[in-house]
Symmetry: C2
Subunit: 202 residues, 2 copies
Amino acid sequence: MAQRKSRADRRMDLIDAARRAMIQHGAEGVHLNQIAEEAGLTSGAVLYHYPDLRDLLIEAHHAGMERFYEQRVKKISGIADPALKLITTIRSGLPEGPEDAGVRLLCELGGAAGRNRVYGTLLTTLFDRQVSMYQTILETGAAQGIFTLAHDSETISRTLVALEDAYGYRIIARHHSIGPDKAAELILDYARLATGHELRPK
Amino acid sequence: MAQRKSRADRRMDLIDAARRAMIQHGAEGVHLNQIAEEAGLTSGAVLYHYPDLRDLLIEAHHAGMERFYEQRVKKISGIADPALKLITTIRSGLPEGPEDAGVRLLCELGGAAGRNRVYGTLLTTLFDRQVSMYQTILETGAAQGIFTLAHDSETISRTLVALEDAYGYRIIARHHSIGPDKAAELILDYARLATGHELRPK
DNA sequence: TGACTTGTTGAACCGTGATTCAAATAGGTA
DNA sequence: TACCTATTTGAATCACGGTTCAACAAGTCA
């Protein structure tokens, strides 16, 4: 028998198992047994913790987004220079490659969001949070006279997040000439235009 | 009994039925019976024409993309002025609203493209074709001295298509403040920066 | 130690979807 | 008209996924 665990621990395991299963089989194509297998349990045990599987899937998506966002915040937390911060932030929004689990999970939701309001809200919220993150950086840089913004910070930030999203999809779909490096360069090209800063990492 | 049809006619019907069924139930969550019902046939009849359902789904996606692309080309075909052509093209790449069937179908593929090479290739091909479409417009405008391009035409075009894609997803997910009009305005803001043209429709 | 709680299994059951195929039917054709 | 072939149906079958639940195992606590 699989090791017995506390309710809280097991739920965390299951959320993680669901995340992995969804990446393999799709957010909507995933089956209870696949999640159970991924967690090393039987389907009954999964149902014991999540009588309604949809709740588990939503929690897994929520956790995936939270993790994605936190990782980004962490990567830029120690950086003071707005230019370097902007460069790092752009990079942190892109998948590391076609197999990047965090972004794969987010991409799974794009289609489902059209049919499922909860997923739509999750994605929308994540988008807005990322926009805020960029706005802070841009306005700090502008206040310091480092950036000369071509538009208001919200417009530029929305564009930056949109570009990350779209190139994320391209990378996941294995575009032959747009990988993480090329995508970062394309977004930086825009950022230069929008901030009037050359944005060269020292 | 449903009306008897020629092989070619029936296949067209089925492709359309599959398209509708996938929008309702997801590209991967769709079932044979749902497609059959949408086509007004029984599951057996569907299998008679498409012994492997995956072939039908791929053809349906392919047809959806073809239709989407052709509609865009058609909308801009009569326009001579590069600026107006650019504005119209941008608008034609966005869904008309959250229910827009063409874009919904494309969004369905985003996640699946990570797992399915065929879908990845389809999306990548569409992306590249749209980039070419923009390049033609930009270079015509530049040659006429109307546009002053801030980057090479490929970079700008990729950015434009990426923005369309990303805002398409936002609109489908029902973002509270980004609808078709706002999205078009955001993309135009970038296009102004990149072309040096004010891009005001007369 | 023994009762009690909680987590897990495994088997049984049920409904559903895919698949197969003989029979029925519509259209075309000689 | 009668035949021929392509298309469609409907029922039977099979496989599989979700759901339930009695039994069991592993902790917990008095």
